[in-house]
């Protein structure tokens, strides 16, 4: 069906070669001053012997290359992006403008304290928002992303137990529906993972959890609301049981957008939680980062928080504590990355919370939950809802509605691409068959949701007629059709090579 053209382009769908196939030697996209005379031989005999092999391009070529590449991408700016568990909300451009102020963007992390007071104020102010919103007294600001924050929280827990002579506590209880990062982070701390089953109602099986608790358990890692989009109704009993066993309650904060401004996780019994600033706090995901994963900690865990920390001296000047000796009486578990955290992401997040305010954040979580429940209500009879509502900020369907149609969850999602939508999360969580997890976020208008609902219902009706072929062929209208992932893995081509 593909209409052919002489160029290979199709109207606004422009083919774009690799940058290595455009460039050649002898051009430049940057004009640089002449090299001054070298006053002494200081290269230690290590001057480069061969050229890098990088192509040379002019500025207009580079600009066109990346503009064309961008046109092969779908972002939140392009349209509805109901990717469950990812909180693809609007990214206010105010954050981009603020992060580019020279006082933030052109600031070195090792500059003297007198010249960075505003930056430390940014970190401190955001920390105040995060501790107030969660009710926990301390926050480690340096983790670089959600998984890094999980690891940071678990390291603090591990350090606590080592310090208290309970280093044998190394078992971590993780529900089967958890993000893959949870068990992976636990393994990095030398902990073992013990899975907790779910009930028919999609929640933690409290009896099974209690049966697994013991004096070798370090913590429970629980996402709440969980990855089925459901609030853990028995969370207080869960926390109580975990604490009674002498263990900590770690919460995966990936779904914090459901409750921000309405529920403080400290009031649920949580001892530690990372916060994905690139989800709940609206900083752009950037096609895979950078994110930031500040980790809030209870009073018991706070002394073990990593370096560096922002501290305030008696004269009111803020300073960075970068070594153990700067924090007498504290036992920081170490350093998690270079310098002081994802500062540029923090500036954007601070712009967001200042813009939103405490009242706006509560309104946002309310609308996020409203939107998900609206999808659940309007799609429940056309798809197959995995659990009864109300849901929280995302709603989960499974593939029972596709039974016997020959259409899979994957096919259904790919058909949505041809309709102009980014698909929902597929095949996650693993606790239902053929999962379709939709998270609309508060950024979407009723008109957008109504149009999406109409399209999903029409596709479901088409699937149920047994007309599977259009689904199998989807997507047909994208720059590329379905890509052969098996070929990519079996014969890996992971870089361009000259002459290839």
């Amino acid at each position: 069906m593909t209409e052919t053209t002489f160029s290979g382009n199709r109207g606004l769908q422009l083919e774009e070669p690799l940058i290595f196939e455009i460039g050649c030697a002898g051009r430049s996209g940057v004009d640089l001053p002449a090299v001054p005379p070298v006053t002494a031989d200081r290269l230690g005999g290590c001057a480069r012997k061969a050229a890098t092999g990088l192509p040379d391009l002019s500025e207009p070529q580079v600009v066109r290359h990346y503009t064309r590449l961008s046109q092969k991408n779908y972002g939140i700016d392009s349209g509805f992006y109901p990717l469950g568990s990812c909180t693809m909300k609007h990214n206010p451009r105010l954050g981009e403008k603020m992060a580019r102020l020279p006082g933030f963007a052109d600031l070195h992390p090792l500059a003297p304290a007198s010249t960075i007071q505003g930056a430390l104020e940014v970190i401190d102010t955001l920390a105040h928002w995060l501790t107030t919103l969660t009710g926990l007294p301390a926050v480690a600001m340096s983790p670089a992303a959600g998984a890094h924050g999980e690891w940071c929280g678990l390291m603090a827990i591990r350090a606590y137990f080592e310090d208290k002579g309970q280093g044998h506590r190394r078992r971590v209880l993780v529900p089967e529906s958890a993000h893959g990062t949870n068990p992976a982070s636990a393994a990095l701390c030398g902990m073992t993972v013990d899975p907790i089953p779910a009930t028919e109602a999609g929640r933690v099986d409290l009896a099974a959890l209690k049966a697994k608790l013991g004096d070798d358990v370090a913590c429970l890692m629980l996402t709440n609301p969980n990855t089925c989009g459901l609030f853990e109704i028995e969370v207080l009993e869960i926390a109580q049981a975990v604490h009674a066993a002498g263990a900590f309650f770690y919460c995966d904060g990936a779904n914090f957008n459901a409750v921000v401004g309405r529920v403080r996780v400290a009031d649920l019994g949580v001892d530690a939680m990372h916060i994905n600033l690139h989800k709940t706090f609206a900083t752009p995901h950037g096609g895979g980062g950078p994110g930031a994963g500040p980790t809030v900690l209870s009073a018991a865990l706070a002394p073990y928080a990593p370096l560096p920390r922002v501290v305030t001296a008696e004269n009111g000047q803020r300073m960075l504590a970068e070594h153990d000796r700067d924090l007498p009486g504290e036992l920081p578990f170490g350093r998690v990355k270079a310098f002081h955290g994802q500062f540029g992401v923090m500036v954007r997040a601070l712009a967001y919370v200042l813009g939103m305010g405490g009242d706006g954040l509560a309104a946002a979580s309310g609308d996020a939950v409203l939107n998900a429940n609206y999808l659940l209500a309007r799609l429940g009879d056309a798809l197959s809802a995995s659990f009864d509502g109300p849901c929280m900020h995302e709603c989960l369907f499974d593939d029972r509605f596709l039974a016997g149609t020959g259409v899979s969850t994957l096919d259904f999602a790919k058909a949505l691409i041809d309709e102009g939508y980014h698909p929902m999360t597929m095949y996650f969580p693993l606790v239902v068959h053929g999962a379709l997890l939709m998270e609309p976020t508060e950024s979407e208008s009723k008109e957008t949701l109504d149009q999406f609902i109409g399209v999903v219902r029409a596709l479901a009706a088409r699937a149920k007629t047994g007309d599977a072929e259009p689904f199998k062929q989807a997507p047909r209208l994208t720059p590329r059709r379905r890509l052969d992932e098996t070929l990519a893995a079996r014969t890996p081509v992971l870089r361009w090579k000259a002459g290839s």
Binding site: L43, R48, A50, L101, G103, P109, R264, R495, W496
Partner: protein, 449 residues
Amino acid sequence: MRWLPHTDADRRAMLGAIGADSIEALFRDVPAQARLTAPLDLPSGASELEVERALGAMAGRNRAAGAGPFFLGAGLYRHHIPAAVDQLLLRGEFLTAYTPYQPEVSQGTLQALFEFQSQVALLTGMDVANASLYDGATACAEAALMAARVTRRGKMILSGSLHPHYVETVETALRFTEFDAVRLDPDPMGFEDLIGRIDSATACVIVQNPGFFGGVRDLSALAAACHAAGALLVVAVAEPVSFGLIEPPGAMGADIVVGEGQSLGVGLSFGGPGLGLFATRDKFVRQMPGRLAGQTLDGDGRRGWVLTLSTREQHIRREKATSNICTNSGLCALAFSMHVSMLGGSGLAHLAELNHGLATQMEAKLAAIKGAKILSPSYFNEFAIHLGDGTNAAAIVDALAAKGILAGVPASRFFPSYPELAPVLLVAVTETVTEADMTALAAALSESL
């Protein structure tokens, strides 16, 4: 609220469709005693103008690097970023996309990552690079863990040339594992004997080149010694502009090259986000951490890109994954790639020569100061200078900052327990430094010594 589209009429209509009385009713699964009944003690929402005022005031309480002579480095370098890079990065299709798990609507990000991986492989002289990690320090920690997987050994030797933040991050990552980090003393002059420390328990030696104190070393003999003992050589590079002038680690025999990519495209941003570079040999690719973009064909037989070899990763392998990393530094990798594309091979070589040439000019000026001595026997664009016995580099830096000159990074900032390093200052010179800046630094230092 400008970021929330619903009108109250919308909300009522939607609640009607749901069959709920209020939004609060949708939160009924939250235990009543855990639901906030009064607003938190936080400010109310603010207009763009008000937020700009508040954050502008905070930014104004910092001293931007561009405000005067500036010589700070120590793992983070100030370079001029071509205007086109930031303009292109702001395209919403790049900025507001998720991780490219749906390849048909993510070919832009995926092709850009494939190009990034190719550029990093060419720069480092390695076979294959991943699609980024958080920063140079965490990349170093991942390299140590990978070396343990490859060699099934647990001793990591950390050179005194390695950035102290990288050392501390590796130590933290290994803290609750069965592996051990052996940390060598800071080594401004390049005297340490690494080869003599390698034994049959050694998983890897981790060195930095150019080193934290500036020194550039030929690592070929060290690589050979590592390989003879069945260990890996990991080379960290904190200043990627050096790739334009210095022999790449791959050509010296490195098994894993990690780095901080921030110099190209990313900017200072008070040290974060950074860009973790990670490259290795083909034979180790299945032990690599992080995402990989790979080439394939689509249903019509056309070339395209996907994320691949994901059976290494946490979302598939869970606790047996090679790393827990998920979100990485995608947009920073794109910025790096754009800057490298703008420079090209010729431009990068020119930029590197320019940095090095200016640094030698700076050395000549500072070496003329009475009492001062350049420690680094070799360097790229940063060197260590000893300001004289009994001097305190940190105090001098503070005094010069008061005069509007950011002179460099005192070594004591990282090594407070090494009094012999108190007089040592790291001075970085990039293309952003002018002749007048260098003259000003030399004059001010000369005055204060």
